[in-house]
Amino acid sequence: MAEPRVWKRWVRPLLALAVLVAIWQLVLTLTGVPRYILPSPAAVASALIEQRELLARHAAVTAIEIVAGLIGGILLGLTTALALARFRALRRTLLPLLLISQAIPLFALAPILMLWLGYGLGPKILMAMVIIYFPVASTGYDGLRQTPQGWLDLARTFGLSRRQQLLKVQLPAALPSLASGLRMAASAAPIGAVIGEWVGSSQGLGYLMLNANARLQIDLMFAALVVLVIFAVLLYFGVDAALRAAMPWQQDRMTPDQ
């Protein structure tokens, strides 16, 4: 039982990664692309090792932005979803506004946030929050709204208050829908932070990439990208693990006893 699971979980993805790296090297060897366009895997690996202190310093900044943005965006999105489900008046006024807000391109928002909040962590965290907020709020609200009528009937015969109904019935019922929003949020959060850094910053992986690009340190640029990808993957699996822990009944479904 354990062996195929280890195989599925670790060996296969690592094998896929190895194949990708091999193709990368093959392209280099066959086409002879100059190193300042596409560095070799070995060069990127050595940049990762040699520049590890520089990378770690900037990665820490980006990590803070992403995590703070993620937490803030989830809290704000969830609060919005609950408030929308609870108050009809809010639905009428806020819902159209929310939809319109999605028409604003995020890149266009970044310079404005920079202007208002300066060059520090603030605007980057806010960018990450903004990008996370909508999927969480909309999937959360959808889930709350689509609670099966039968459960609401039960809640009513139990004599629950509107508040109890929202928190004890609708919220757990919305979890599967909300979970897909949270997974989306986890993969979008690094985008928000990096966009913020590109528009204006003096630290972070996005800054490091722009800087390395300007100095033609392409291997360092790729190394920063690798760190960013590792972040995104870790974040996704972290959120996924947290969601599985919050919904234990969805795991046991795989092993019925009959």
């Binding site: 139990f158 004599g159 009944w249």
Partner: protein, 247 residues
């Protein structure tokens, strides 16, 4: 405390422009089991929802009175066609669902839920997830959850229609035993089910519908299948139900 009877007055329901029933009267005697029959769309489930004061999309009105004059609130339990088990609680948690939803279950709640699970024969499933149970087992958990309310009035909307025939017969025996002494109103499609369980059978008939009382077989519930009176009454009941479309 003895269970109250229910008196329904001036019940009316309009579906679009079509009045399903108007100024309907009914008495449900204390401690008796009433089965409510009718064709699909006759409004029998709606009538039950109205008694439970659940949401209905259509225009409706109902005056409800209890035989002891005390309010109905908190004395009513609801059981639906679907078991309505929530996937995020284990079997035991689903039995004491009302305690979970109102706050935090106490040790006594837990003991009571365990006793009820024993009564419906599911002690070995106490800590399973609902998804791991069969349809019949899930409906037994739903029955235990209904009993957990310890309500003197139990309203059931086709509670056994989603399980296979044999399981249904077993559930009849179980429900009849465990709900004894309560005022039960059950909506059903199944004439046989009504004849096995009911002290009184009412049919919603005509347009707009009236409530027609039908005779039930002699003997204690659940009545055995092999009684000749049961099959005789079943033929009668089916004929009466068919009448509605032709007459």
């Amino acid at each position: 405390m003895p269970p109250p009877g229910l008196i329904v007055r001036e019940a009316s329901l309009t579906f679009g422009d079509r009045p399903l029933f108007r100024a309907l009267q009914a008495r449900f005697d204390a401690g008796s089991w009433t089965c409510l029959l009718g064709r699909s769309g006759s409004g029998k489930s709606s009538l039950l929802r109205m008694i439970a004061s659940l949401r209905l999309p259509d225009n409706h009105h109902l005056e409800l009175e209890t035989s002891d004059g005390a309010p109905l609130k908190g004395r009513l339990a609801w059981m639906a066609q679907h078991d309505l088990l929530v996937p995020w609680h284990r079997v035991i948690g689903n039995v004491m669902l009302s305690a979970h939803w109102r706050g935090r279950p106490t040790a006594q709640d837990r003991q009571r839920a365990e006793r009820l699970l024993a009564q419906v024969g599911l002690t070995d499933k106490t800590n399973r997830w609902p998804d791991e149970l069969s349809g019949g087992q899930r409906q037994r958990v739903a029955l235990a959850r209904t009993l957990f309310e310890d309500a003197s009035i139990v309203l059931m909307d086709e509670p056994f229609s989603a399980v296979d025939a044999i399981t249904r017969l077993e559930l009849h025996d179980l429900a009849s035993r465990l709900l004894d002494g309560r005022t039960v109103i059950m909506v059903t499609h199944d004439p046989l089910e009504a004849l096995r369980l009911a002290d009184r059978i009412l049919i919603l008939q005509g347009e707009p519908a009236r409530l027609v009382s039908m005779p039930v077989p002699e003997g204690r519930r659940p009545r055995p299948l092999d009684s000749s009176e049961l099959s005789h009454r079943q033929a009668e009941l089916v004929a009466e139900l068919r009448e509605m479309t032709h007459g």
